[in-house]
Amino acid sequence: MIASQQAATSSFAVQMKGITKSFPGVFANDHVDFDVKHGEIHALLGENGAGKTTLMNILYGLYQPDEGEIYIDGEKVTINSPKDAIKLGIGMVHQLFRLIPSFTVTENIVLGLHSSKRPRLDLDVAEKKINELSKKYGLKVDPSAKVWQISVGEQQRVEIIKALYRGAKVLILDEPTSVLTPQEVKELTMILTKMAKDGLAVIPFVTHKLREVMAITDRVTVMRRGKVIATLETRNTNERDLASKMVGRTVFLETEKVEVTSHRPVLEVNDLRAINDKGLPALDGVSFSIAEGEVLGIAGVAGNGQTELAEVITGLRKATGGRILINGKDITNMPTRQIMEAGIGHAPEKRTEMGLVGDLSVRENLILTNYNDRSLATRYVLDRASIDRHVDKLIAEFGIMTPGKEAPVKLLSGGNLQRLILAREVTRKNLSVLVVVDPTRGLDIGATEFIRNSLVSLKKKGVAILLISGDLDEIFSLSDRIAVIFKGSIMGILAANEAKIDEIGLMMAGAGAQKQEVA
């Protein structure tokens, strides 16, 4: 009896019991119990601010819990720093990779470790070990390649090897699929499954990729507002159930489909060319058009010209060739202010760096792109009374949670920041085109649902939407047509209801280009 109980306990790689951690004004973790067995993939699911990052930061030694106990392989431990965590066999793969671009893969992996040939590096030995790990789990990497030369998916594999190289038995992965193409997601799934079979404990944490959670995991723990809502066997649950547990109410994951009725092109882009900040070609003859009430999704792996496309259309970057027309009017290389007045709204990729001014108030940020409007200001002076009315209306209509309209926006959460930007851009006078980049990246399900519905209602009003997004689910659920961009060229434009996700994935990797070359 006792023996069997012991066996049961020792099969847990990690047990966290009654973990409590509070920050001023919030319980980030409120008596959280979480455990993961050897050989298990156990996802931690929750919206932003649900407490999953805090819990994993405690496990990784970045925070100390106020209360609660941590057991590793059944033994009680205190983890004071990531160094302790690594010693205990815990590894973490961050969402934003922490690699040095000018170093090789091997150099990045051994960085910070003691070498047996001190002071020289034993790169040969390291490379051998990396190749072993690589072969064992199917983690394809080239140890001698420089990190800047390799793809995002490969960088992630380097991060995983880096953790394994340090002897990780427990691997924490922060939003592992958010930056990957569909093919890379499949590969990652296979790698993680292999690692679990080999006895490793894997903890991915996820905000909204429910489909992938269903595909990969053995168990799921759902957190909400610092508490564990449920720990479930994956085979006993489904996406809809997980989503409603996360949010605390029933959610509709499907966005409403609205047919495009008009064929009048609002935005026309012809043979557009531009260079990036390094002076290299970023857009290489891009052409498309968007009709009234149509959503054109631009799919592609980050860094293939998406940023530059949004910037050239909104006047933030000069076109070196080609033309952009709005309602038939040529706006190519006009100043941003005039382009805005011609009817373009822009919800940029860099929300806090570009779309908002962190130190200024909610009120001022809500008029950032339309304070020139006759209804909000006279020729020189801001009209405070009508600005107040406008701002109050937007805060209420878009459900922006803020301590007040005088509060600096840097105090707002990510979801509220995006609501604020969208509220401002969507309600601009004579809006006929909205350029929106990664509108729901990093947002939780509630905010995502709201933002997507706002875009749909904008579409109903006849606004043409250029949706540039790294999230293929988003592209599929909102777009009428999907254009795939690769190395600054459009590989092809497909109707969303006929496109297959695999086909898009291959085009994102440049396969369309090869076909064209053959033809």
Binding site: T336, R337, P348, K350, G355, V357, L368, L382, P403
Partner: protein, 359 residues
């Protein structure tokens, strides 16, 4: 986190920073700076308590000393207001000293041009000239910055030396008053250019001009479209571009206004204090103004208060210099300590410290 045995100290990010901090932090900074300054005084062999007592009484002790503190505060206030508006646009202009000198030079020139006109014409004209002189001087680094990417901290500072030497050139050269013997200065200005004063004091019209500008700047920054654009540029230049704001034009406007206001400070010294252009118009008001602007947390309405405090410190500094024969550099050092502690303590606007004992 910092740990000493079982004692822990951690900096924790605040949400909103409480209002009272805007008053508490500058106050604590001044107190700590005076404490640190007392070490310097001790090294000089002066009893800090007696020195600070002398400083305080010669700054604020009598109606006369109060009025003299206001006299010192006047150029500080204007130079600080001019500096403030450029800082608001994120243009790190430390050229108020040079702009002040050019304002003084232009005001002096105006008295020659408009000699013979009555004060009602003369005084607005010298104000306009000094504003344009300081403003033009302030705009030059802005053009370098936007067109060539030259760092404004360096260029504005280098422009100060040019301006100071320009004044020196004029008072030794073309404008030298031969009747002043060895004292290098311009001839005395026409009586019509002398600014009205509060009877019995040296407080001149410029202080009221400064107070009016403080209020105007507040309204300008907070209530006008241009003011909003300037604050957006200062807080996030990328967002300004995104919002279609013309950054170049606005920075030119801001440096013109800022330089112009600093130029008025020079006008005040020439037409309100010296009644001629002396070789040294300013003992570094333009540099102290940077401290004044930070102490006021870049709020135009609190600039008069912090300028008065520093005017008192300067005025009182002359007092202890005379009473204890300490070098004026010591007073400058105490001013620098105030800036140092304001900047160092600014971390508490964003963070608070938590102490803990761990068992």
């Amino acid at each position: 986190m910092v740990r000493f045995g079982s004692f822990e100290m951690e900096f924790v990010k605040r949400g909103a920073s409480p209002r009272y901090l805007a008053y508490l932090i500058p106050f604590v900074a001044v107190v700590v700076a005076l404490l640190a300054g007392s070490v310097l005084l001790l090294v000089e062999g002066v009893d800090p308590l007696r020195a600070y007592e002398a400083l305080f009484s010669s700054a604020f002790g009598t109606p006369y000393s109060l009025s003299e503190s206001v006299v010192q505060a006047t150029p500080l206030m204007l130079a600080a207001l001019g500096t403030l508006i450029t800082f608001k646009a994120g243009f790190w202009n430390i050229g108020a000293e040079g702009q002040l000198q050019m304002g003084a030079l232009a005001a002096t020139w105006a008295t020659f041009v408009f000699a013979g006109y009555p004060p009602i014409v003369m005084i607005p004209c010298i104000m306009l000239f000094s504003f344009l002189g300081g403003g033009a001087w302030g705009m030059i680094p802005a053009i370098f910055k936007v067109k060539l990417g030259a760092d404004e901290m360096l260029t504005t500072m280098m422009m100060n030396y040019v301006a100071i030497l320009a004044v020196v050139y004029f008072v030794y050269g073309p404008w030298r008053d031969p009747s002043a013997y060895g004292n290098p200065r311009s001839p005395l200005l026409p009586l019509s250019s002398r600014l009205p004063v509060i009877p019995g004091t040296r407080i001149h019209l410029t202080v009221f001009v400064g107070l009016a500008i403080a209020v105007l700047l507040y309204v300008f920054l907070n209530r006008t479209k241009l003011g909003l654009e300037i604050r957006v540029i200062g807080a996030n230049r990328e967002a300004a571009r995104y919002a279609g704001i013309n950054v170049f034009k606005n920075i030119l406007i801001v440096t013109l206004i800022g330089g112009g206001i600093a130029g008025l400070a020079g006008m005040g010294q020439v037409a309100g204090i010296f009644f001629s252009l002396p070789k040294s118009v300013s003992p570094g008001y333009g540099y102290t103004a940077i401290v004044v602007a930070w102490l006021a947390r870049l709020n135009p309405l609190t600039i008069p208060v912090s300028a008065f405090l520093f005017g008192g410190l300067l005025n009182g500094g002359y007092g202890i210099q005379m009473a204890f024969a300490v070098p004026i550099a010591l007073v400058n050092a105490i001013q620098a300590l105030v800036l140092f502690f304001i900047l160092a303590l600014s971390i508490f606007y964003e963070y608070r410290v938590v102490f803990r004992w761990r068992s």
